[in-house]
């Protein structure tokens, strides 16, 4: 199989790391060679963060280069815009329709772009939903990334059962049920 390149982008603290590890664990247990690359340290303090997951028969470099990503999973829409040039021409973006203003916007040094998702849609295939709102309805906003992962899962190479198995093995025990519910919600959605 040709190497698949998945990027997970977001704001430090949103759980990009855990999500990339869920995906990495799944690809490993499916028998692929997997390489994962993360950002630690300073960027975690509310900065822009990106993690790379690559899987396939043979994977060399652990990073994904511009124009090479099959899927970009964005936990925040400005971050989708920031990294969209990493996408292949036929790549897919899965975007959490959520706005987190960077400090540069809050302090008036910059403006938050308008109609981000609509504009990206002009160039690329975009699947998007407001996962925070849905997670709130489920009773815990923290599971929003499982909803987005569910939405993205349809475009990857693993069955739903495999996904659910790896979520069970990765998330904290107390939150297994809720995370699976959240994943299902994203998986079933039509956006």
């Amino acid at each position: 199989m040709k190497t698949r390149n998945i990027m997970i982008v977001g704001v430090g603290g949103q759980g990009t790391l855990l999500t990339s590890r869920i995906l990495g664990g799944l690809a490993t247990s499916s028998g692929y060679e997997v390489k994962l690359s993360e950002v630690h340290g300073m960027a975690q303090r509310g900065g822009s963060v990106v993690t790379f997951v690559r899987y396939g028969d043979t994977v060399y470099e652990p990073i994904i280069e511009e124009g090479e990503a099959d899927i970009i999973i964005a936990f925040e829409k400005l971050e989708a815009l920031r990294y969209k040039h990493f996408l292949k021409p036929d790549g897919v973006l899965v975007i959490n329709d959520m706005r987190i203003e960077p400090i540069t916007v809050v302090t008036g040094l910059a403006t938050y772009p308008k109609n981000i998702i609509e504009n990206i849609r002009k160039e690329h295939t975009v699947y998007s939903m407001n996962a925070m709102k849905e997670a709130e309805k489920l009773g815990n906003i923290r599971v929003f990334n499982s909803i987005i992962l569910g939405l993205a899962a349809k475009h990857m190479d693993f069955s739903k059962d495999e996904w659910i198995k790896v979520i069970k093995n990765t998330v904290p025990k107390k939150t297994i049920e809720l995370n699976i519910k959240a994943f299902e919600l994203g998986y079933q959605s039509e956006f």
């Binding site: 994962l36 993360e38 652990p62 809050v106």
Partner: protein, 574 residues
């Protein structure tokens, strides 16, 4: 397995008994992973890298395998013992893991550890992924004991924080090597060291010869039109871009296996050296009279990728899309961070801050812009002292030094000793948030807990400062901005040393709870924007100019509330 976890696993399997380190991105997780093996070995956080290195040296002399780990700038701090232990050699295997940071993801410079090791005459191994990392650690201990030398394993951020599969093996139970008194070897005084230096030179020469047969130096012959010499993560960039090229993958990057390289060079039409940062390998090969492509086309700065080979060797014309122009999202202090409160007061009083290394370096960026300087660990206090000695006591009356608890323990303590000794004037703020925060929450001598999670004596910063003979020592809650402002006004006006310890725990600390949240009372809001000045990420402006507080982000520190003169923010139970 994460690169750093694989390094720890390698050390564990090699039978390491003692590990000492000071946290620093991207090396921190090595020690955290060592703590998982605490039933079978001893591991600790040291107050700084020099201490960590010396602990490892002592353990080695006593006859066991030991490890010190640190980030690249920490290696500067540990350089003093390293340069000399290269002369004395070891008893039990001694390996130092040093993590470089090409691209400076979280460092103040991108120095190349291989350069220092060349200067210190210490062999260096460089793994390319997590699987290599584990294997190379074990081999490093063999080299250390066979050649009687300390060994450095060099990693980079990309290796430290990327993952691939690693096959686990059992731990080797190493018997303790009996201690034998050997003054000529272990007492580094001139008469002894003069005899040791030629031994060091001979050892490096022998290693250069022997390493031609080391399995970690591997030749992959394919198409011989181009032959790459590379090591570390860049090896995979070569494979990604040109899987059919011939490659000499160096597992040992110092000393170089000269014969192996000469042989490889003779078999390929064009030799290319592909190495991140400094031209360490390239310059040595050039000195042997061999023509190579290297830094004449590849950059001396930043992190590499396969794209560089596409661009400069394959001359691919494929252009990528331009990135969209979007507002920057720099890292920021967390909502409820006590540093923000302190900086808000400094900003109000228009006080300059000589800064230091930690989360509080973020006080240099907008909207706070309080921190004027950041050089290295501990430099806040000593540079403030330098300013005072250069320009006089009045000059530093609108300056303070700002340093965290862990950084104070690291080297700031020496700087404060210097101020006390040399009759200085100046105000030092120790921001005590009870943790080493920036690197992801490691304990330090002031937190009362060890790396192995045992309770221990928490060293009292106030008592240390008093012991230096400094009279003006105060403790204040970081969020008590009224008292802090008052103290800053009186203390900076003095012709003496004052130390203000600003105390409040890091909001990310485990077990910490937030009983309150702040909410805006919109009809009282006069849209003055005073609450927005500290740059708390929980606060945003509504379209009508009033403010909104994200209740998910707010930690209820109350700073915005204390800044609002119109009582338009109140605290509620979370």
């Amino acid at each position: 397995m994460l690169g750093n976890e694989a390094i720890a696993r390698g050390a564990y399997e090699a039978g390491v008994q003692v590990s000492s380190a000071y946290p620093g991105t991207p090396s921190t997780e090595i020690s955290e992973a060592m703590a998982n093996y605490k039933d079978e070995l001893y591991c600790e956080w040291a107050p700084n890298e020099k201490v960590a290195m010396e602990v490892a040296i002592g353990a080695s002399i006593s006859g066991v395998r030991s490890m010190a780990s640190m980030k690249h700038v920490g290696f500067n701090v540990a350089a003093d013992p390293m340069y000399t232990v290269a002369y004395t050699g070891v008893t039990g295997g001694l390996v130092t893991v040093v993590a470089d940071d090409p691209g400076m993801y979280s460092s103040q410079n991108e120095q190349d550890t291989r350069q220092i090791c060349r200067a210190a005459n210490v062999p260096v191994l460089e793994p390319s992924d997590s699987a290599d990392a584990k294997d190379f650690m074990k081999f490093a201990y063999e080299i250390s004991e066979t050649y009687d030398t300390p060994v450095v394993v060099r990693t980079t951020t990309r290796l430290a924080h990327s993952q691939c599969e690693v096959v686990l093996e059992d731990r080797i139970e190493k018997a303790v090597i009996p201690y034998e008194k050997n003054i000529a070897k272990y007492v580094a005084m001139p008469a002894n060291s003069r005899k040791r230096h030629p031994i060091v030179v001979a050892r490096m020469k022998k290693l250069s010869e022997d390493s031609c047969d080391f399995k970690i130096n591997r030749v992959e012959y394919n198409d011989t039109k181009i032959g790459f010499i590379t090591s570390g993560i860049p090896y995979y960039y070569v494979k990604e871009a040109m899987p059919s090229a011939s490659v000499l993958k160096l597992g040992m990057v110092h000393p170089l296996p000269k014969k192996l390289i000469l042989d490889f060079a003779s078999k390929v039409d064009q030799l290319v050296v592909f190495e991140e940062l400094e031209p360490v390998i390239e310059e040595q090969i050039r000195a042997w009279g061999i023509n190579v492509i290297g830094k004449d086309i590849f950059p001396l700065v930043g992190e590499y990728s396969a794209r560089l080979i596409h661009e400069f060797i394959l001359k691919d014309k494929t252009t990528t899309k331009e990135p969209a122009i979007v507002p920057a999202r720099p890292p920021i202090l967390c909502p409820g961070c006590p540093h923000r409160s302190v900086y808000t007061v400094l900003k109000k009083l228009k006080i300059h801050a000589a800064g230091d290394i930690g989360c509080y370096t973020l006080g240099a960026v907008a909207p706070l812009n309080v921190v004027d300087t950041t050089i290295c660990m501990g430099a806040s206090i000593s540079s403030l002292h330098g300013m005072e000695k250069a320009r006089g006591k009045d000059y530093v009356k609108n300056w303070v030094a700002v340093i965290g608890d862990s950084t104070f323990m690291h080297t700031g303590i020496n700087s404060l000793m210097n101020m006390a000794y040399n009759k200085a004037a100046g105000t030092v703020l120790i921001l005590d948030n009870s943790i080493t925060a920036m690197t992801g929450h490691q304990d330090n001598p002031a937190t009362g807990k060890t790396l192995m999670q045992e309770p221990t004596n928490a060293i009292d910063i106030k008592k240390i400062v008093k012991a230096f003979g400094i009279e003006n020592v105060f403790e204040v809650n970081s969020f008590d901005i009224v008292k802090l402002e008052e103290l800053l006004k009186t203390e900076t006006a003095k012709d003496e040393i004052s130390v203000i310890i600003c105390k409040a725990p890091c909001v990310l600390l485990k077990g910490i709870s937030f009983p309150k949240k702040c909410i805006p009372i919109t009809d009282k809001c006069v849209k003055c924007g005073a609450c927005l000045q500290p740059g708390c990420p929980a606060l945003t402006k509504n379209e009508d100019g009033t403010i909104a507080i994200d209740s998910n982000a707010c930690n209820g520190c109350g700073l915005c509330m204390s800044l609002c003169k119109f009582n338009a923010i109140k605290e509620v139970d979370a």
